[in-house]
Subunit: 339 residues, 2 copies
C-alpha cells in the first residue's frame, strides 16, 4: 500500500507517532516549531488522521443521521439545508436516509445506526402508523434523537414542531371567512400525529363557526401521484366542496391538477389553502394561499437541540419541545374579490 499513515509520517520526520498526533490535536503541549514542521510535512504528503481510527479510539463519530420520509419536497430539502448548516458549524457530518414513508425502512435505518456510525439522529417519522415502540428497545444505548415536524407522540424525546393546531384552525377560519361552508380536508394519514392535529384544528374551527362537521369531507389520500389524482377528482365531483384545505403541499397540487382537468375554477368554484413551504407559491395559477412553515429554521433548531444533548449528555431523554410559528399567507387561491 502506498497510503500514508501516522507511522510513515513519523518515520519521515524522525519523530514518534504520539508527537504527530499531538500536532493534530489542540489539547496536548507541543513546541510550535515541531508542530509547524509536522503540519507542513503532512500537507506535503497529504496526510490526514484516519477518521475511523480516531473514531474507534474516541468512541464518537462526529456524524449525525437525518431521516426523512422524502427528499424531493421543498419542506424537507429546506429543513435538511438548515440542519446541514448547523452541523457544519459544529464540525459534524451528516448522513441522509430516505424512508419513502416506509415504516420498515425507518426501523431498519434506526437499528443500523446504533453501531457507532452516528452520534445522534434527527428524524421526521414515516407516514405509517405502526408500532413505534421499537425506539424504546435500545435501552440506555439509544442514540440521542430529535424529532421534527412529524413525530411520534408517545416517544419521549426532544422535538421541533410548528403550531399545527392553531394554523389549521386559522386556515379553516380563513376559508370560512372567504365564504366557504363545505370545506374538504385532504389528508394522507389522519391517524399520524401531524394529520390528526391539523384535522382537530379544522374541526374546531368548523364548530366555532357553527358549521356541522361532515366526516365525508375528510378525504383520505395516499402517497401515490396516480392514486391521488383519482381520489381528488372523485372527491371534488361527489362532495362538491367550496373549499379545500390540503394538509400537505402535494395534495394542493393534486387539487390544482384535478381542477384543471375538470374545469373547476379556483377560487371561484373552490378555494384552496395548503400547508406548504413552496417558495414559488406566488407564481402558481392562481397563486396559492399557504400556511408556510419556517422549514430551514425548523431544521436549524432541531440540529441545535441535538447538539445541546450531544454536548452534555446528561439529560438525554428530556422531552423539551420547541414550537415554531407558521404563517398564513393569503393569495388568490382563496380570494373572493373581483378577479
Amino acid at each position: 500500500m502506498d497510503s500514508i499513515n501516522i507511522k510513515k509520517l513519523a518515520e519521515a520526520l524522525k519523530l514518534s507517532t504520539s508527537t504527530i498526533s499531538r500536532a493534530f490535536r489542540d489539547n496536548s503541549d507541543i513546541s510550535s516549531a515541531t508542530k509547524e514542521r509536522i503540519l507542513a510535512k503532512a500537507k506535503e504528503l497529504n496526510y490526514q488522521p484516519n477518521h475511523y481510527a480516531s473514531n474507534l479510539r474516541e468512541q464518537k463519530s462526529k456524524t449525525i443521521a437525518v431521516i426523512v420520509p422524502e427528499l424531493a419536497n421543498n419542506y424537507f430539502s429546506q429543513a435538511i439545508h438548515g440542519i446541514e448548516r448547523i452541523a457544519r458549524e459544529n464540525g459534524y457530518h451528516i448522513l441522509i436516509y430516505v424512508t419513502d414513508d416506509d415504516y420498515k425502512k425507518e426501523v431498519n435505518f434506526i437499528q443500523h445506526l446504533h453501531n457507532g456510525r452516528a452520534d445522534g439522529i434527527i428524524m421526521s417519522v414515516s407516514g405509517e402508523a405502526n408500532d413505534h415502540n421499537y425506539l424504546n428497545n435500545f435501552g440506555a444505548k439509544r442514540l440521542p434523537l430529535v424529532f421534527f415536524d412529524r413525530i411520534y407522540e408517545d416517544i419521549e424525546t426532544p422535538r421541533v414542531i410548528t403550531n399545527d393546531y392553531n394554523s389549521s384552525y386559522l386556515a379553516t377560519e380563513h376559508l370560512i371567512e372567504q365564504g366557504c361552508n363545505r370545506v374538504a380536508y385532504m389528508v394522507v394519514n389522519k391517524s399520524l400525529s401531524i394529520g390528526k392535529t391539523r384535522m382537530q384544528g379544522y374541526i374546531d374551527a368548523l364548530t366555532k363557526h357553527e358549521i356541522a362537521f361532515d366526516e365525508n369531507l375528510i378525504v383520505d389520500c395516499s402517497n401515490s401521484y396516480e392514486e391521488n389524482s383519482v381520489i381528488v377528482k372523485r372527491a371534488l365531483l361527489e362532495l362538491k366542496p367550496d373549499g379545500v384545505f390540503a394538509s400537505v403541499e402535494r395534495l394542493a397540487f393534486a387539487t390544482y391538477y384535478a381542477c384543471y382537468d375538470l374545469g373547476i375554477k379556483i377560487p371561484d368554484d373552490v378555494k384552496v389553502i395548503s400547508f406548504s413551504s413552496l417558495e414559488i407559491a406566488p407564481l402558481l395559477n392562481p397563486s396559492l394561499t399557504t400556511i408556510t412553515q419556517p422549514a430551514a429554521e425548523i431544521g436549524e433548531e432541531a440540529a441545535k437541540l441535538l447538539f445541546q444533548i450531544l454536548d452534555n449528555d446528561a439529560d438525554k431523554n428530556q422531552s423539551n419541545e420547541l414550537i415554531l410559528e407558521s404563517k398564513i399567507i393569503a393569495r388568490n387561491s382563496t380570494s373572493n374579490g373581483v378577479k
Copy 2:
C-alpha cells in the same frame, strides 16, 4: 461502560470473539446452529458489530459522499434521491455536503473526505470558476469521483451529463419558431461548463436562423435572490427582449416575478423557456415551457458509475461519459396561439 461489544457477547455465550465475528460475515465456515444461537443472542442484547472497528479493519467505509451546490432545488433533491436509492441497494450510506456555490467549501470538503471517511465521491461542482487542479493533487490516493451535471472539463473522471448543447439549441430554436427574435439568455456563470455549453447552443441556433448575436442579450445573473430581481428587471426594461431563455430554473422564476411587477405579459410580451426539473411547471401562471432533465435518473446513473469503479478499482481514472437526454416540454409560457 454498559455498551455491548463482541467480547461481551462472546463471554455471554461462552464462545470466542472470532466465532461471533464469523456469525456476522458470510465467508467463513461456522455451524448454522451456533450461528443462529449467536444471532439470537445478539438481537437480544442489541449487539451490532461496531462500524468503525470493522472499517478500520477492512479499510473501507461503505459510504459515499455527495457534494452539491445547493439542496433546496428540485433538480438536486431529485438527483440525490436517485443516488440514495442506488446506494441503498448496494448497502452504502451517503453523506451530504452543500457548497452553496462556494469554491472554498468544495475544496475543503473534498480534502477532508480523503481520510477514509468515504470510499467515493459524487459531485456537481460549485459555480465558481477557480483553479480546480486541486483535484489532481491527491495522486494515487484520490478517491473515485463521478461528476454529474456541473463538471470541470479538465478533470479526468467519469461523468453523467445531459445533452445541454443540443437542448439549448432546440430551446432557442423553439423561441424563434414562436416568433421571437430578441432572445435574452439568462445565466449565472457563463464561464462555467454548464453555462458555457448552454450558451453555445443558444448562439448557434441564432446564427442558424440568421439572427445576429447581440452580446448585450447575455444577462449575467447572480445566486442572490435580491440581486437577480434587480438585474432581471433592468434587463427586461432596457433590452426589451421578446424571449427569455433561462439557463437555470431560478432565473425563470426571477423573470416571472419581474414580469408580474412590471406588468409585462408572458407569453404575449415575452416568451419564457427554462432548464428546470420542476414537477409543477404546469401549474405556473402561465405554465412554464421547460427543458426537463431526468434528474433522478442522472443521480442513479452517477451512482451506478461510481459503484462500477468501486467494484473493480482497476480503471479508476478512465473518463467515461454518460449523456442522458433532456426533453423540451412546450407549455403556455412560449405559446403564441390564442389564449
